[in-house]
Structure formats: C-alpha cells, structure tokens
C-alpha cells in the first residue's frame, strides 16, 4: 500500500512539473486573458434595458453587418475607420448616450479595438461598453 502511494506521488509529480513550468513561463501569455477589464463588458439583457439611451456599434466587417445586425446599429470597423468614424461622429453620435460595441462572438477582439479607439483617440465622453458574447449572444437571446 505504501509503495502504491509512493508511486502515485511520483506520477503526480511527473505530471505536475511540466505543467508548473509552463504555467510560470506563459503566465503573461495565456491566450484567454482579456485585454479588457470585466467592467467594460455589458450583458445583452442589461444593454437591451437601456433601450433608446444606447448607440449600438457593429465592429464586424461591413459584409457581415449588411447580412444582419442589431436593429439601429451603426457599422464602424477598422477596415474603413476614417470614413466610418467621420460619418458616425457627424450624424449618429450623441454625447449623453451609452455606446455598446459588438463583434461576432466572445472570441473576437474587433469590438475591443473599436471601443479603445473611441475612448483613447476620439476621447468620447460616453460610457462605452463591449457586448459580452457579441452578435452570437444577441442572437441567442433574440
């Protein structure tokens, strides 16, 4: 019995060693680590509750936006940023509304990039959030 326990411990240690080394080495590079704070995200239900007090910004490529999008959403993506931003700021933008940016799914980071540029480059005073789960989450709750 004692030998069995010792051998089990050896096996666990063998399995644990590379895992610990990898975890320490890759600590800063874990792919699922988001660059965005949790407080910058908003759930579909919460954003829907804001009703007319929200501007939906679709950060997906234009073809995907044209196929389907959240009703009333504005297309603003980095493929045509200059033209899109100028149009958005000149017509649909309003300072008192919340802005919710979304892309296709939780795994995409296009919404993060668009939200960052609206905050850091345009310095919009709005409460800017990223839709948690993106378009997929919206469709699931439709």
């Amino acid at each position: 019995m004692k030998a069995l326990l010792r051998q089990s411990a050896v096996l666990i240690a063998l399995a644990l060693l590379p895992a610990v080394v990898q975890a320490l080495y890759l600590r800063e590079k874990i792919p699922w680590q988001s660059r965005v704070a949790e407080s910058d995200f908003v759930e579909v239900d919460t954003a829907r509750g804001w009703a007319a007090n929200v501007i939906w910004v679709d950060a997906r490529p234009s073809e995907e936006f044209e196929r389907d999008h959240i009703p009333g959403a504005v297309s603003l993506n980095e493929d045509r940023w200059v033209e899109g931003l100028s149009q958005f700021l000149g017509t649909q933008w309003s300072p008192e509304k919340k802005i919710v940016v979304y892309c296709s799914a939780a795994s995409c980071n296009l919404a993060e990039d668009v939200a960052r540029r609206l905050r850091e480059e345009a310095k919009l005073p709005n409460d800017i959030r990223i839709l948690k789960g993106g378009w997929e989450a919206w469709l699931a709750k439709k």
Binding site: A3, L11, E78, D79, N109, E120, E121
Partner: protein, 224 residues
C-alpha cells in the same frame, strides 16, 4: 507487488505517450511584430517541422480577421520536413496593439488544431489627441484644441490642416516641443448643427494623411 509494478509501468508509459510531442511542431506559436512607421502591411512567419514519423496534411489555415491573409507553400508535410506559414496583416487605418490569430487544422490526431497568434504594435507617424472635438448648441464659439505630435525619430516641420466645411476655421501653431503642433478649431456659430472633417497633412515622405472631426450638436442634445 508485481501487480503494483505493472500498474506503475503502465501508468508511466501512458504518461510518456501522452506527453510525446505532436507531429507538426511550430517553432513559435506567438509572435510580436513591430511594423515600420507608416508601413501598410507586415508579415508574421510561423515556422514548423514535422517531428513525427508519418506525413501530416494541413487541411485549412484560417485567419481570424479579413485584414489578414495566410499563405502556405504546400499542404502535405513529410516526416522531418520543415516549412512555414506566412500571415500578412494589412494594417490599413489600424493603430495601437492589434492581436490576430490564425487557426491551422491538420489531420494529425494528436494536435488536430493549432492556434497561431501575433501581436502587432502599430505606431503612428503623427499622433492626434483627440481626433474629435464638439460644441453643445449655444455654447460659446471658443476654439478647441487638437495636439498633433510626431513619433519619436520622425521629423515633422510643418502640418497643413484643411476643413471640409467653411463653417469651421482651423489654425496651426507650433507646440511646446519640436514635432508638436497645436491645431485650433473654431465654429463660426453654435446656433445650428454643423460638422466637418479636418484633413491633416504632415510634411513627411511618403505622404501620409490623417483625419479629425469637429461638430456642433443639435439644440436640445443633453450634456454627457
């Protein structure tokens, strides 16, 4: 005791087999890229080798974004053969830190899918802060400022600014340090909604154009 030895040996074999490397092994699955200032695209080269003893077929190479294309010299990789996947990232109007992925699907049962990732840090020749200014309806027509700052190592002696609308005036003054400029924007009135696009051209070669926007909000728009 023999039974225990058998169990230990079996578990050890299982552990070693499970930890054996996959056939198609990438030298690096994550790359950091620092494209040159003003570059329109940048390549991320992911090198691989088939370290197994059977051929591997690469079924698909899928970039996460339409802004990235991935090129593969051949789909079948013989044992011991080396190769590379080149992902070309079209920078366009993108700025800051951009993280993109390329998903590689193979017929290797051990690692049927590998996600390659690159992080591109895109610096601007001219940094504008902010890229947008606005006035509430009825607000005083005081000028608002955009600071244009040349990137480190870039010489900008002059910046030209043109407003797309005659309802705004734009004036450029030198900033506090070399390569810095103060762009003052002023609407002629704030009694009606107005907007303009400012075209900002630094004297750099090759020529590069930047844009900013200014707007007077409609009456009745609430403050932030």
């Amino acid at each position: 005791m023999n039974g225990q030895r058998f169990l230990f040996s079996g578990a050890l074999c299982f552990f070693l087999a499970a930890s054996a490397p996959a056939a198609l092994v990438f030298e690096k699955t994550e790359l950091d890229l620092n494209p040159e200032l003003g570059a329109s695209k940048v390549d991320a080269v992911f090198k691989y080798e088939n370290k197994g003893d059977t051929p591997v077929h690469i079924k698909a190479v899928k970039p996460s974004c339409g802004c990235t294309t991935a090129a593969l010299a051949k789909n079948d990789v013989a044992p011991g053969e080396k190769g590379e996947i080149t992902a070309t990232f079209n920078i366009g109007d993108r700025t800051g830190t951009q993280v993109k992925t390329i998903t590689v699907d193979t017929d290797d049962p051990k690692t049927p899918q590998t996600v390659l990732k690159f992080t591109a840090t895109i610096a601007q020749i001219l940094d504008l802060q902010p890229t947008f200014v606005f006035w509430q309806a009825g607000e005083a027509t005081q000028p608002k400022m955009i600071i244009a700052k040349a990137a480190k190592g870039v010489t900008v002696k002059k910046v030209d600014v043109v407003s797309s609308s005659g309802d705004f005036t734009a004036k450029v003054d030198p900033g506090a340090t070399a390569g810095e400029f103060k762009i003052e924007i002023q609407p002629k009135a704030t009694t009606k909604p107005l907007n303009t696009t400012l075209t900002i051209k630094p004297d750099v070669t090759p020529a590069k154009v930047y844009y900013a926007s200014a707007r007077v909000l409609p009456p009745g728009t609430a403050k932030p």
